[in-house]
């Protein structure tokens, strides 16, 4: 799945480069204007990407998906919701890698709300915060993160109302 996914990305890049080649031949001024803009974006975000990479290495070094998932099933009270939030935030890797693990937890009786809250918090990524701050500012990043955590709890509760506490 990963290789298929990455191949699609490379094909997509190929198409975009082809469009640039056409622009280079037919509309040189548009090509140059676009390249100048792209270069200005890259020059600004490359240092932030290096920071993101370092943060990803640190998170990958200390957090293992299996042990993280195990904790989701341990508590079902307020502690369970808090663990779902923290686990969702610090979890890494593509979402589809988590589905089989979550499916196992669901079978073992973990609440649907806890799983939904965990999935929502995967949107809050500490490693990407520097990039978010660069584009949207510190104030925005803090407020958005706060509301996303609140929304994750709201979603957990909505799911339990609509789908049921357990599948």
């Amino acid at each position: 799945m990963t290789s298929e996914k990455s191949n699609v990305g490379w094909y997509f890049l190929g198409i975009v480069l082809f469009i640039y080649a056409i622009a280079f031949i037919l509309k040189r001024e548009i090509f140059l204007k676009a390249i100048y803009y792209v270069a200005s974006i890259f020059s600004k975000i490359i240092p932030i990407f290096l920071l993101v990479f370092v943060l990803l290495v640190i998170i990958n070094r200390f957090i293992k998906p299996q042990s993280l998932a195990k904790h989701l099933g341990e508590e079902s009270g307020i502690k369970g919701w808090i663990i779902a939030i923290i686990a969702g935030i610090i979890s890494t890797g593509p979402i589809y890698l988590w589905y089989p693990l979550l499916n196992e937890l669901q079978k073992h009786g973990v609440r649907n709300g806890i799983i939904a809250t965990f999935l929502y918090n995967r949107a809050v990524k500490p490693a990407l915060i520097p990039l978010m701050i660069y584009y949207f500012g510190l104030k925005f990043t803090i407020v958005l993160t706060f509301f996303m955590i609140l929304a994750s709890l709201a979603q957990g509760m909505i799911i339990e109302k609509l789908v049921g506490v357990k599948s």
Binding site: F12, V16, F31, K33, Y37, L102, V143, L144, I159
Partner: protein
């Protein structure tokens, strides 16, 4: 440690083609599309703009890094912060592309209601965030 570096490098490498493509398209759009074009799609109405932003983010998928770059550049083109916020939130919380896998492994009903509620929550989160940020 080696494994952690490899995993991080692989994650970034996998997102690289889409990210570079997105930046190249943003560059091209900046060169070709006049800024007034975007205002044609975004009405400056809080609800409608956040709805459009959330819909766009739901359809598109990929690494959150890409959504920040696209969102940040859209903001520079004059798109409202509420639309961009809904876009970056739904990008990561709504997964139309992953829906079949989610439905098979976690249940159709679960996947449907989770994605649907995430879509509307993206609008609520965007409006609340922009409202609070404007007061701080």
């Amino acid at each position: 440690m080696k494994q952690a570096i490899y995993k991080a490098a692989r994650g970034m490498y996998n997102s690289l083609p889409v990210l570079i493509s997105a930046i190249l398209l943003v560059g091209l759009a900046n060169a070709v599309v006049p800024k007034s074009f975007y205002s044609y799609f975004f009405s400056r109405n809080l609800i409608i703009d956040s709805f459009i932003g959330s819909a766009l983010g739901s359809i598109l998928a990929g690494n959150p890094i890409t959504s920040y770059v696209i969102g940040g550049e859209l903001l520079k083109q004059g798109i409202s912060l509420v639309a961009v916020t809904a876009f970056i939130v739904s990008w990561v919380t709504v997964g139309i592309v992953q829906f079949p896998a989610e439905a098979i492994l976690l249940g159709k009903k679960f996947a449907f209601y989770r994605n649907l509620s995430a879509f509307f929550l993206a609008i609520v989160v965007a409006i609340l965030t922009v409202f609070v940020v404007s007061f701080i």
